[in-house]
Assembly symmetry: C2
Homo-oligomer: 206 residues x 2
DNA sequence: CTTGTTTACTAAACAGTGTTCAGTATGTTT
DNA sequence: AAACATACTGAACACTGTTTAGTAAACAAG
C-alpha cells in the first residue's frame, strides 16, 4: 500500500507550505509582526491546522532558520573560487555582512532572535547549521595557517575571534545601535572598521 | 505658588516608580515576559495610569535603557585608575563582557532589542547614552595612540572595530549562538578569542 | 455497498497582550 | 459653595499563541 507513503509526502508538502508562507511574511513584515493567524490566512487554512504540523511558533521559526542557512551558504559558494586564502576570508566576511543588509529579517532569525533556539534546548545534535557554517570559517582560517599568513595554535579560537568581529558590526548596525552617527559616517565607519580589522589581522596574526 | 512645582515633583516621582518597577520585572523575568499589566500590578496602579506618564511601552523601555547605561558607567569607573592605556582598554572590554553576563536582561535592552530605539526615531539629539559610552572608548584608543601603542589615523574607526569585536562575542553568547560548542569549550573559546584579539591588536595596530 | 475507524481539519474558546476612552472622584481655584 | 482641572480607573477593542471538542471526509474490513 503506497497510501502511507503518499500521506507522508502530503504531510511534508504541508509543512513546506507553512514554512514557505511563514518565510514570506517574515521577510515582508519582520518576524515579530507575524502571527500564526497571519500565516494561516496566507496559506488558506485555519490557525489550529498549523499546530498539527508544528509544535509551536518557535518550531516554525526554527524551520525558517534552517532554510535561511541554506540561502546564506549559496551566497558563500563563489568565495571558494578565490585562490588566496586570506582574500577568501575577507570576502567571506564581506558576504556575511552583505547578507545581513540584504536579508535583515532572515539574519535576525538566524543569529539574533532567541526564539528558534529555544526549540533545540535538549537535542544536542541538531545545531548542525550553525556548526557547518562555523566549520567553513575554521577551514578558511586553517588554509591561512597553512599558507603561512596566520601563525596561531588554535584555528577555532581564531575563527571565533573573526566571527565575533564581523557579527558585532552587523548586529550593532541592524539593531540600530549606530544611529548616534550621521548616515554617511555610519557607512564609512562600517567599511573602514572592517578594512582596519582585516589589516590588523594580517599584521597581528603571525 | 509652589503647587505646580510639587505637582511636577510628584509627576517625576511617579515616572521613577514606574521605571523602577519595570526594571525590577525586566531583570527578573526578561523584558519580553513583562507586560504593562504586570508593571501596573507591581506598583499597585491600574494599567491605564501608566499611559498618563509614558506614551507607550517602548518609552518605558527607553527609560530603563538610559538607567542601565548609568549602571554600566559605574562598572567602568575603576578602569580609569589603570595607568597603561592598553591595559585600560583590555579591562574595559572585559568589563563590557562581564556586565553582559551579570545583567543579561539589561544588556539586551541596551544593545540588542530594537524597541527602545524606536522611541527616538525622530529626535536626533537624544542618542546621548550610546554616544557618551562610545566616546569613552574613543578616548582610551586615543590614549593608546598618544602612548605610541597604536598607530592609526582615525581613533573612531579603531574604536568601532574594537567595540564590534567585544560586542560580537557577547551578543553571540547571550543569543545562544554558541550552543553548538560544549559548555566548557564555550568558556575557553570566549576567553581565548578575547585574549587573541587583544594580542592581535597589540601586534597589528601599529 | 455498508459498516466502523482513522485522519484532516476547523470553530470557538481561554488566557493573555498593548492601548484607548468614558466616567468618577479628588484637589485646586474662583 | 460652585466651577474647573487633575489623577485615576473599569471596561472595552482588537489583537496574540494555543487547546479542545466536534465535524466531515478518507480509508479499511465485512
Amino acid at each position: 500500500m503506497g497510501i502511507i507513503e503518499r500521506k507522508e509526502r502530503e504531510r511534508e508538502e504541508m509543512r513546506r507550505l507553512i514554512v514557505e508562507g511563514a518565510r514570506h511574511l517574515f521577510v515582508a513584515n519582520g518576524y515579530e509582526k507575524v502571527s500564526i493567524r497571519n500565516i494561516a490566512e496566507a496559506i488558506e487554512y485555519s490557525p489550529a491546522t498549523i499546530y498539527l504540523y508544528f509544535k509551536d511558533k518557535n518550531e516554525i521559526l526554527y524551520a525558517v532558520h534552517s532554510q535561511a542557512f541554506g540561502k546564506m551558504m549559496e551566497e558563500f559558494r563563489p568565495v571558494f573560487d578565490i585562490d588566496d586564502p586570506f582574500e577568501r576570508l575577507v570576502e567571506m566576511g564581506r558576504r556575511y555582512m552583505q547578507f545581513a543588509v540584504d536579508n535583515p529579517e532572515l539574519f535576525d532569525i538566524m543569529f539574533i532572535v532567541t526564539a528558534p533556539m529555544e526549540t533545540l534546548e535538549c537535542r544536542e545534535d541538531i545545531w548542525s547549521e550553525g556548526r557547518t557554517a562555523f566549520n567553513m570559517l575554521v577551514q578558511v582560517v586553517q588554509d591561512c595557517i597553512k599558507a603561512g599568513i596566520f601563525k596561531v595554535d588554535d584555528a577555532e579560537v581564531a575563527a571565533m575571534m573573526i566571527w565575533s568581529n564581523i557579527h558585532g558590526h552587523t548586529a550593532l548596525f541592524l539593531r540600530k545601535r549606530m544611529m548616534m552617527f550621521p548616515e554617511e559616517r555610519r557607512q564609512v565607519l562600517m567599511t573602514e572598521a572592517f578594512t582596519l580589522f582585516c589589516d590588523t589581522m594580517k599584521k597581528g596574526l603571525n
